[in-house]
């Protein structure tokens, strides 16, 4: 016992740290890891390559608080003809035929006590990439800003936008 005391202590110590590491990883895996989407939609192809504008699909961004996720029929408009042989596109077709909306996984979500208006921000001439990053370069969409209150406030201050709590909280 006496002679093994040191390795035991060491192992215990490092074991604890390792547990912590696992904990962090679990957390990351659960909350921060970009979830896989039902369809491997690539903004890269649509925006970067095909140079389609954002508001072609997210058509309410300039009109409403929510940017709007394109309706399945919207996808079908083009993909009736384009790249119909690709497996991912076939998936869309399936959803369309079963009259089922596509259950996209939400990446940019705010707590429900937050009021955020896409319209207002865009009307102020703030570019989408300020909060969403270079989406056009993303093969799979991911969150590149913390979207935490501190971050919002910093930006609001820097643009001397209102910082009254009520501006964002409901």
């Amino acid at each position: 016992m006496k002679k093994h005391i040191i390795p035991i202590i060491l192992l215990g110590y490092f074991g604890l740290l390792f547990l912590l590491l696992i904990g962090l990883e679990t957390y990351w895996y659960l909350y921060e890891k970009p979830q896989s989407q039902p369809i491997a939609f690539s903004h890269q192809i649509h925006v970067l390559k095909m140079t389609l504008p954002c508001d072609l699909c997210h058509m309410y961004a300039t009109k409403s608080i929510s940017a709007g996720i394109p309706s399945v029929s919207k996808c079908m408009d083009c993909h009736r003809a384009i790249a119909t042989d690709k497996p991912e596109i076939k998936k869309i077709l399936k959803y369309w035929q079963n009259r089922k909306p596509i259950p996209w996984v939400r990446i940019h979500s705010l707590p429900d006590f937050v009021y955020f208006s896409h319209k207002r921000h865009l009307k102020m001439g703030i570019d989408c990439s300020e909060c969403h990053g270079d989406v056009k370069a993303m093969a799979t969409i991911r969150k590149v800003r913390s979207l935490k209150m501190g971050w919002c406030i910093t930006c609001h201050k820097s643009r001397s936008a209102p910082t009254d709590c009520l501006t964002c909280h409901k």
């Binding site: 060491l10 590491l21 083009c78 003809a81 384009i82 270079d134 370069a137 993303m138 913390s146 910093t154």
Partner: protein
């Protein structure tokens, strides 16, 4: 940045990969060296002062040997210390020259500080033999050196952690703003701790394995050094993983990926092994594990460097893609030019138009078939030698044919629009001619 834009060719993806590994290599050789430099100098100064107080030869010798060992000579200092830092700075500048982030400027500050550090350090080193005469100046230069170094690497780690959080790039304008930035702090502390740890390792290695010094026939002295080295190494090796985890916990979401955890795990394991060896050596001083320990320390540094670069590259994923696209664009431009040789602009224009057509329009339009959009030979004729109208339509399309979904407004550049229009009309002519012939 415009000038730069003109003259620097944006790097291609492969290029980025190369840069990554150069970066890692540079840090790999640079960081251990400066770490030991800082640690060594620090303790040298400490013992220097201790000797002044207690008049103990061992301290003095140790102080002297330490500084000799860590700061080998000016040229080495320059090669291992300044050059890599310079390279690193340059590489970051190259990678990020299109984005507005002040981190790069920070790196330059730290470079300057580094230089200052080196000068005062070597001053300290070369005034050692006349320390009796000018003790004050001598010690002061040493302390100053340390301070410079610490400052330099504080800024360094800060700017690095800033690089990992694009959300802040717009807002952070000077290093001081980041002092309360957890990730920066953790990185810095990690640096300090590992530098002290490796110093310990370094002592064990350089004093007992590197060059057989006078220490062998001076058991008291060697015993003291050995103990000191061991204890130092052990304490900070045990601290290292804690800070590693802290750093991990404070990393921004986007910087993290599966590998990062892998690397941290390896780092953890390494420090376990190291600390075990150290304990073994403490138990019986006869063991000669200095080499292993030191090499393991170097390995840890490598892992850390890898880890950091992975996080960095995770962060700038999109950026790389964009750069690559730019590169392609420019190179294709060149390609066309050499294809058509010194042909007239129009020719080039049409060629470019063809490329645009193939990459974009062809998705929805074909010439004689109905796709998403109508076939060109149906819609184009009304634009016959009305190129401007065609351009305006492409610029912002409007719903024309009821049978088809309205064409989206595309993000084409002016010159692209022009060229594609030119191409289309030309193509139309050729096609119609073909038909005439066939008739």
């Amino acid at each position: 940045m415009l000038i730069v834009d003109k003259y620097i060719l944006p790097p291609s993806p492969e290029h980025f990969l190369i840069l990554k590994y150069i970066l890692i290599l540079m840090l790999m050789i640079h960081l251990p060296f400066v770490s030991m430099l800082i640690g060594g100098t620090f303790f040298s100064v400490v013992f220097n002062i201790l000797d002044k107080k207690k008049q103990n030869r061992i301290y003095l010798n140790f102080a002297n040997d330490l500084i000799d060992t860590v700061a080998v000579n000016r040229s080495v200092g320059f090669i291992l210390g300044v050059v890599p830092m310079l390279v690193v700075t340059l590489i970051y500048t190259q990678i990020l020259y299109t984005v507005n982030v002040s981190a790069v400027n920070f790196l330059i500050y730290s470079l300057i500080l580094l230089l200052l550090g080196f000068t005062s350090l070597y001053f300290y080193k070369y005034t050692f033999h006349l320390r009796e005469a000018v003790f004050g100046v001598h010690i002061f230069s040493g302390i100053l050196g340390i301070i410079f170094f610490l400052a330099a690497y504080f800024i360094f780690s800060i700017s690095f952690s800033l690089l990992l959080d694009p959300g802040e790039w717009r807002f952070v304008k000077n290093p001081v703003e980041l002092i309360s930035y957890w990730n920066a702090v953790s990185k810095y502390l990690y640096f300090i701790v590992s530098s002290l740890a490796i110093t310990g390792g370094g002592i064990l290695f350089f004093f007992f394995h590197w060059s057989e010094r006078k220490i062998d026939h001076d058991s008291e002295y060697s015993g003291f050094i050995k103990n000191f080295g061991l204890i130092l190494a052990l304490i900070f090796t045990l601290l290292q993983p804690v800070l590693c985890l802290w750093n991990l916990a404070t990393l921004p979401e986007i910087a993290i990926s599966q590998e990062v955890f892998g690397f941290s795990a390896i780092a953890l394991f390494l420090s376990l092994v190291i600390s075990y060896m150290l304990c073994a050596m403490l138990k019986n001083p006869e063991k000669k594990l200095g080499v292993h320990i030191f090499s393991l320390f170097l390995l840890t540094f490598l892992i850390t460097a890898l880890n950091d670069q992975t996080t960095f590259y995770n962060t700038i994923k999109e950026h790389i893609v964009l750069m690559a696209v730019r590169a392609e664009g420019l190179s294709s431009e060149l390609k066309i030019r050499e294809l058509t040789g010194a042909a007239e602009e129009a020719q080039v224009n049409v060629k470019k138009g063809e490329m645009v057509f193939n990459s974009i329009c062809s998705a929805c339009h074909s010439f004689d078939r109905r796709a998403v959009g109508p076939p060109f030979k149906m819609v184009l004729p009304k634009y016959q030698n009305k190129e401007d109208e065609l351009k305006t339509f492409v610029r912002n399309p409007s719903k024309k044919n009821p049978g088809y979904p309205s064409m989206p407004k595309l993000g084409l550049k002016e010159d692209e629009i022009a060229s594609v229009a030119a191409y289309l009309l030309q193509r139309l002519q050729t096609e119609s001619q073909k038909q005439d012939i066939s008739k």
